[in-house]
Symmetry: C2
Subunit: 199 residues, 2 copies
């Protein structure tokens, strides 16, 4: 147990908590108070740690993500869809105008999406929030953002295509969730630079 | 108070809570149990709601963002830097290798950043997490992500340049934080589409 904690960089108490919460499978018992843990336990702990500390997920969301990763009866595409859909919770009903704006964007891009699509609904809600603050996101902004988003998404999926199916589900999680903060941090850094040049 | 709640789409109890917590300035008292609220109160409530519901910030982070927005003795660039820096909390010390990889990226891009830069440190921590899961982000990936991030960042800052300075601080918050979920949701949608085409 203490070796497991050291290998994952987590306190022993946290490892015990994850075991109790079922986020980490039990080790192979080798005595009344000892158990053997393997490389897959270390890897799972690193994944849980990265999802909480880097991607900022709450434990409930981590649990949903792990369930999708562990469900081996899924294609990679289904696993990714499941992970995505579990992460976007329900929210207020977006306005018809925002829903139509998102639908038009999807149509312009020629994207084929799961329907009903929770991301499209969440995006419509974000557009409503921006409009409510007198900063509506117009189609030109959405197109520019979609250009950037699609460029990285195509790259992400091409990288996954070379992996096998089972590795794919975890890769989908890592590639989707852990690269999200990477993209946002780079945007903030580039904004700082652009803003400094603006003066 | 009930009109304020209706205009912002929040329950009365939430509006009262935000008032108690100092996230919303007090209204002008017009009697023992009545106060007058203006358009700026509605706008502030919408901002708080968007920061919590759309950008997913906790109240403590919302408070830090509002402090930066309300500090009028700042240039736009300073306000944005302050917002950014308050959002990236302290974390584990990243590995020297990851720090060097980020520094080399910043050098390649020719970015001028605040030093020490909390985003660069957070990015290095994210790279460590990816490496720990056997999915290291190589320089080619970072360059592609930085291309996409910089494209939207240049657009964001150009849009702000046309605003006046005081509006700029709030615009920085809205443009930085509320467009983050827009970018991530579009990436997830584009990933779904690319994954469907892959089969």
């Amino acid at each position: 147990m203490s070796e497991l904690a050291a290998a994952s960089g987590l306190p022993v108490a946290t490892v015990k908590y994850y075991l109790r919460e079922g986020l980490l499978p039990a080790g192979e018992a080798t005595g009344a108070t000892r158990a053997r843990y393997g490389e897959e336990h270390v890897r799972r702990l690193r994944l849980v740690r990265a999802l909480t500390e880097v991607a900022g997920l709450r434990l409930e969301a981590v649990r949903a993500v792990l369930a999708a990763v562990d469900d081996e009866d899924r294609s990679f595409h289904d696993a990714m869809g499941s992970v995505h859909h579990r992460l976007t919770g329900p929210g207020a009903e977006p306005s018809p105008g925002a829903v139509a704006q998102v639908a038009a964007l999807v149509e312009r891009r020629g994207w084929h999406l799961y329907e009903p699509n929770p991301h499209a609904l969440a995006l419509a809600r974000a557009l409503d929030a921006l409009s409510g603050l007198d900063r509506p996101a117009d189609d030109a902004l959405l197109d520019d953002y979609a250009d950037a988003a699609q460029a990285v998404a195509e790259r992400d999926i091409a990288a996954v295509g070379r992996e096998d199916r089972v590795a794919g589900a975890e890769h989908a999680v890592v590639g989707t969730l852990l690269l999200e903060p990477v993209l946002l941090l780079l945007r903030r850094m580039a904004q700082e630079d652009a803003s400094a040049r603006l003066g």
